[in-house]
Amino acid sequence: MDLKIVNYGAGNIKSIQFAFQRLGYNAVLSNNPDEIITADKVIFPGVGEASSAMQMLKESGLDSLIPKLKQPVLGICLGMQLMCNYTEEGDTKGLGIFNTNVKRFSKSVKVPHMGWNTIKNIKSDLFKNISEGDYMYLVHSYYAANCDESIATSDYEIEYASALENDNFFGVQFHPEKSGKTGAQLLKNFLDL
């Protein structure tokens, strides 16, 4: 399988590469549009600050490429947030793939939301062999507001979208590469799509 991880300089992608390696797949880093467009599956990672990550995407011309992809694409953490319409972080316009906005948790809870939390209201083949109430590892200060495209939700301050799906595009707020066996199952499901 031709599996590409979009490498635009945002965050720690070694862990994602290793997670696929543990499943027996070689995920290759690439910032080359010609390579990404022909891949079987694409991972869109991201850790860090939204406006500077979007700036890096623009500089490599990947901001216009990603919404046009036809193969299954999985955004992880900030990657998922950048696929939304808009994020309050750095007042940043997103790629508009998911029809929802990203907001900051209020000061009524500890921020970042850090640790293992349950996922609920799961639907989609992405969660095959994963159960309602299973745990995923999350680290984030901003969340995607719940919407029609939610395929999983989590509770922290409010109920928010912890996974999204629109056509061939998938996004997860949690880190499947760090979420033990449940996370590995999700990555396997993505490869099986």
């Binding site: 720690n12 500890k110 970042p112 293992w116 939390n117």
Partner: protein, 251 residues
Amino acid sequence: MLTKRIVPCLDIKDGRTVKGVNFVDLRDAGDPVVLAKQYAELGADELVFLDIAATLENRKTMHDMVLKVAEQVNIPFTVGGGISSVEDVDDLLHCGADKVSINSSAVKRPELINELSKKFGSQCVVVAIDAKQIEGEWFVHLAGGTIPTDIKLFDWAKEIEDRGAGEILFTSMNHDGTKGGFANEALATLSELVNIPIIASGGAGTIQHFADTFKLGKADAALAASVFHFEEISIIELKEELRKQNIEVRL
């Protein structure tokens, strides 16, 4: 609901775990990668690796270890010890560490916290504080708790948060090694004072100590070393008891 985290801590020297690791089932308990995998299997939520002999010479050994842990372990981990610059952190994150923990270097140059959180995001910046209560007042100590300062714990914690840290790892020197329980009063004050997660460290001896630090100390995570390394407390049994006491844990 967000769960409370159980965090085993491994002391590392020259790429090997040091002192006090006695796992009956392991062929090589000195190999941090083997041990880390075992802990992930046993239900640990996160791991901390502390390079206790951090020197320039063994930096590459530490990088190799971090790379191997990232390759084989599927839960998050933090690396601490001898980190004093943006470059140090860049190297460790590139090897696959999820978070780094800084301590003395942050006290000596607090701007480091701002630099790290700006460049890598708050989520990967843990600031560790070693503090000792002297005549009722908590003071920050350096170099593994051996060097006293006149910095007050709660002032420093607030400053750490303001400068952009994502988490505080608080060790009470009065409780560390005693197995008499965590410093819950100070922990609860910290947890009220700052709006970032607090990891409790120092004093774990019994299962009830963990329950107390989550309930009374309002800690978000609890770190321990020897009670886990010597199998005095099994993580699964610990979590089952915590759940019985209505504390959210991942089982």
